[in-house]
Amino acid sequence: MYAAVLVQRLGHLISFHFDAYPIFPEFSSGSREGIWWLPQSTSDGYVVISNFAARMVKGRLIFTADEGRYATELALAPHQTQRISIRDAVQRAGFKGIQGGIRVEAEADVASVYVAEVLFDESAGFSAIMKVFERDRNLLQQSYTLRAPLIGLATPDPMLAYPTGTILHPNILVRNAADTPVNAAVTVKWRSPKTVGRFPLKLVPLAPEETRLLDLTTLQKDGLPADANWANVAITYSGRPGDLVAIANSYDTTTRYGIQSPFTDSLSFMWKGGMWHVDPQHNTLITTGNAGKKDATVALTLFYGENGIYELPEKTLAPGEQMEVGSLIRNQIPDKKGRVLPPDAMEGSYEIKDLKDTQIGYLYEGKVITYKTFGHATYGCAECCMYGGVG
């Protein structure tokens, strides 16, 4: 089953989506790690901490920055949610910068303590989700790769429907949550309307608790075409999951227009349950990537209405290639069985699967839904499943 909520400030640009997750009892020792970011003097945000356990949980909320750390004791009653202002905490800590780290530690029942982080700015019409990662001390130290599939570059894709002349400032916030330096290798694969390319980036090692902002706009000096619209980025490091956390943001100078792409280390042979939405005010872009060493035969299926099914021909969605659902409807493009999406089809779900590798699979996926009225774009995620009709 897939479940999520969309929280919206009615009539405004502010909206957040929260995915539903089960409790993973095997997550018994560790912390939740995130990044705070206040891009404007008027930006604020909340850290939302929920205790789903039936007993009180004590712990600590720790903000970090170049100046040091600021810790607050937590005592969460059973089933209690606390909402903490990031601006308030940063001011109390005396931090002067615009970014840093967030850690939530629990003395027990860490698996039952959920943490979410949102940013907003009503005056600018800005809202963002800052993904919070589990850092599990019981997992093996090895090589991990975080991937973000749909990072908006300086020149926005026309499907985002931003005003002419809008320029985005893509950046990646990356934080070392470990207590030793971390070496990270970054690969940026970009896509313009006519061509593709890639840049390997070698970072200076991140010091413990360092949060660094990587400005992707600087790649234009190294040959990134100014008309490139999208990038997918992979960050590889050695350590445990959650030792390195990363968030990609692409906003204009006002933060009024922009888009995010979440980093994840999840791979699967099937993703399903994500939602698409196309109408005069909405459009949807879906993409997939192949992180494996072998070719993947990728099949994308859209579901709509009572029983409507639309199956793109296999391999039509090559790794890294994007599919705009709105154009399939507008241009009445037939699927592999000659069916077209009806002009009045407005919403449904989708499924991406690797037809060759039905056991493990190395696909990752991403999706953006644009809201033309407000120039707003939100990302979403499907859920990984297994063959055999379950999940």
Binding site: Q80, S266, Y304, N307, V390
Partner: protein, 106 residues
């Protein structure tokens, strides 16, 4: 019990604050995803077939000027799910999530 017999649908339910639990009866299997070298701690979906499941969402609100939509989709190729949202504004979760709007899509 709400939303009995959902089959291959995505439900969008506008609701009103703080966390939501979603119980799914007679639910599904998801394979543990351990695909090194990128084995994901966030993908430890090792749920048992035929057991009730619970999904958790940390936040919702119906404060003045705010609205919340709950989206639920049955990913089973065959079979129904019984889904019960439980909304908790504090220490006493309630099964009576305030429903403002209901939209079912696939």
């Amino acid at each position: 019990m709400l939303f009995a017999g959902i089959r291959s649908t995505l439900l969008v339910i506008s609701i009103n604050s703080l966390f939501i639990s979603i119980y799914t009866k007679n639910a599904f299997t998801q394979k543990a995803l351990s695909n090194p070298p990128s084995a994901s701690h966030s993908s430890r979906l090792n749920r048992k077939l035929g057991k009730d499941q619970e999904l958790l969402i940390p936040f919702w609100t119906l404060e003045p000027g705010w609205g919340t939509q709950l989206e639920v989709r049955n990913n089973l190729a065959q079979g129904s799910l019984e889904v019960t949202p439980i909304c908790g504004p504090g220490r006493v979760p309630s099964t009576s999530c305030p429903l403002l709007h209901f939209l079912q899509i696939r």
